[in-house]
């Protein structure tokens, strides 16, 4: 296969007997006829799968059918395309189908999860959800959904995540500055450790805070202990993303600042961080969004509670993910509905943080400045700019030499 495609480059080695003259292969060309071919393959594989699955082998189950159908689709599509076009294109298109399927599966599942939780929760949501706690829930007896809510969990989550961010963000930014701006011995080790820590099971963070502070009564079960556990989680996440952002800051800015006589901390504080501001904000919000959804670290620290406790420093506190977990494990239908509602509120919170991060991150690192620079970068210039560029960029240096 490769010899035919190489043929135009090296004519003497070309194999003599080939019916089709080597025409330029364009597997990307995908016209109406190709679309029709694909749809026909979909239809015929569906029919074939039905025959095999339900008529010949008497199998059952939607997932099994999907798998058989998909395998048949790929096979049929490959055979059909290799008959109509050629084998290379056939392989290429089958690979395209597989790749697109993978992406479609994960995006479809994401949509599925979000829509499913929303559909379970939205019909039951009323104002009480945001104003009441679960104080009036009695285990045995007549319960009404409108007497209970998750206000206590919302307050808990906001306080815990807020405190975690308050503690975590300065440390994370300082660590990122160390890794990217100062460097020196240990940088690689710390970078590796940070990456590894960001994959540490979240339950470990809670167990750690429990083992170091709560077991010996330095701190009771409280929202603050939960905030400390979330801090352990937040730190590597924010550090990693912030470091990526700082890496994009053009080194010309740093050098200009240092050359003007500014000290290092001045350069970082007034040049590097402001340039990367939107990226750092994105990093922080993404980290906070992840931390807000974590349940496991709260088990050992916030402990959970059924009543409102706005004091973050003492007594157990609830949080949205924790409330979802405890309510979903109960057998009471009211509590399970409440779990769905809490999950929905949590999902909305995470979505808001996420969208905010993306919107703020869209104003890219020094966007105005980079647009101005682009005019001087010959690699992105159009034909007309090319004539102007050398004059405008070289003029000062030529004039500067006596």
């Amino acid at each position: 296969m490769s010899t035919t495609t190489l043929a135009p480059v090296a004519p003497p080695e070309r194999p003599p007997s080939r019916r089709r003259p080597p025409s330029p292969v364009r597997p990307h060309d995908f016209g109406v006829a190709d679309m029709g071919l694909f749809l026909m393959c979909v239809a015929s594989s569906l029919a074939l799968a039905w025959v095999i699955f339900y008529q010949l082998t008497l199998l059952s189950g939607a997932f099994g059918f999907l798998i058989v159908w998909y395998a048949l689709l790929l096979t049929l599509y490959w055979i059909a395309t290799s008959q109509v076009v050629d084998r290379m294109t056939a392989t290429d298109r089958v690979v395209s189908v597989v790749v697109v399927t993978g992406a479609a599966v994960i995006l479809g599942l994401l949509l599925y999860v979000i829509v499913w939780v929303s559909a379970k929760a939205i019909p039951h949501i009323d104002l009480h959800l945001f104003t009441r706690d679960q104080k009036y829930f009695v285990l045995v007896g007549h319960n009404v959904l409108s007497t209970v809510g998750v206000a206590h969990a919302i307050v808990g989550t906001l306080e815990q995540v807020g405190f975690a961010a308050l503690l975590g963000v300065p440390v994370a930014v300082a660590t990122a500055v160390f890794l990217n701006e100062v460097g020196g011995r240990g940088t690689r080790l710390i970078r590796t450790v940070i990456t590894a820590m960001s994959g540490t099971p979240s339950v470990i963070a809670g167990v750690f805070i429990y083992s170091i502070l709560i077991i010996n009564h330095v701190l009771g079960y409280s929202g603050f202990a939960a905030a400390l556990a979330l801090f352990v989680l937040l730190l590597p996440l924010v550090t990693r993303t912030t470091e990526e952002v700082l890496r994009v800051v053009p080194s010309g800015l740093r050098e200009a600042s240092l050359a003007l006589g500014a000290s290092e901390w001045r350069t970082v504080w007034s040049v590097v961080l402001p340039t990367a501001r939107s990226g750092v904000v994105t990093a922080v919000l993404l980290g906070v969004a992840r931390a807000a959804g974590e349940t496991a670290p709260l088990l050992f620290t916030a402990f959970g509670s059924q009543v409102m406790n706005p004091n973050v420093f003492s007594h157990p506190q609830s949080a949205l993910p924790l409330q979802v977990w405890t309510n979903a494990r109960s057998a009471d239908p009211i509590l399970i509905t409440l779990a769905f509602e809490a999950a929905f509120v949590l999902l909305v919170l995470v979505l808001i943080l996420f969208v905010a991060a993306r919107v703020l991150g869209r104003t890219r690192t020094g966007s105005r400045r980079s647009r101005r620079w682009r005019r001087h970068d010959p690699s992105i210039l159009g034909p007309f700019d090319l004539q102007l560029a050398p004059v405008s960029s070289d003029a000062p240096t030529e004039g500067g030499q006596p």
């Binding site: 290429d92 395209s96 470990i204 083992s211 170091i212 901390w265 999902l347 995470v350």
Partner: protein, 331 residues
Amino acid sequence: MHVAADDALVGVRPPVTPITVRTDRRTDDKIFRAVVRAAGFGSLVLLFFIGLFLLLRGLPALHVMGWRFFTRSGYQTLGSHPTFGVLASLYGSVVVAVVALTVGVPIALTTSLFLSEYAPIWSRRTLIALVDLAAAVPSVVYGLWGFFELQPNLVGFSTWLSQHLSFIPIFKVVSPPVTSSLFIAGIVVGIMIVPIITSITREVFSLAPPGEREGALALGASRSQMIRSVVLPFGRGGMIGAIMLGLGRALGETIAVAIILGETFAISPHILQHGGTTIASLIAIHFPSGGPRGIADLLLCGFVLFVLTMVINLVASAVVNRSRSGAGVEL
């Protein structure tokens, strides 16, 4: 203006006077460096403390059980004949992680190929954001979805597997219910680790040098051939690292597994049937119960999980960092 300033300087300054260049740092910079370095090394200290304290507080469990802690399973910590250990949980964690990787890795790799090679340029930012969003969806939400929605739909598939492929031991079902199994938990965890693997492999794939890509295409390779001969070889290190990070994440996934899995301490090769346990779900489910001995057991289990995932993650992140920096991929 530049010209004037330079001329003026040249005119004023004697040509050979040596100027002093300060090479020592100023005090404020020394303070700055010290503070920032402290933050950096703080994470090392934190990591060390996590390991140290989990081990210290878990030691009482080791005193009770001795080395049998690693060969027994169960959570009977009260009474005069305590039996507890990590073996079944460790086994369950590994099984869930293997199932998760089997499900997650193909989806993740194809998704990252789609994002870096196939998706139209204008849609990439949005699609990448969506995949990142999948990573931000709380694990408790995945757990709810897996238990209440996915499981009823998967039971048919599990039954189908157990009926038609029961000659393979892992698909055999000895005791009938196929709900709340390691298999279903593994599938949900597999979906959860897709975004993590994708975000790393996508980055590594997009780092494949454009010269080689264009070279392959110019020689007549189709897109899939170009991917096979350029993108995948260049991204191999990153792929391995990403999969290992996904493994670490799958081993430690807590709440989703705890919601789905019906806890039993049997070590059974039949992953389709009801029951099982993982280290993380054991910790989450039993936390306040079991008295001081139980707490120590859970902390020691946490230590085992911590060491396991840390070793995997350290190797993985070393591999990823190396392949990201471009070393080790020269051809």
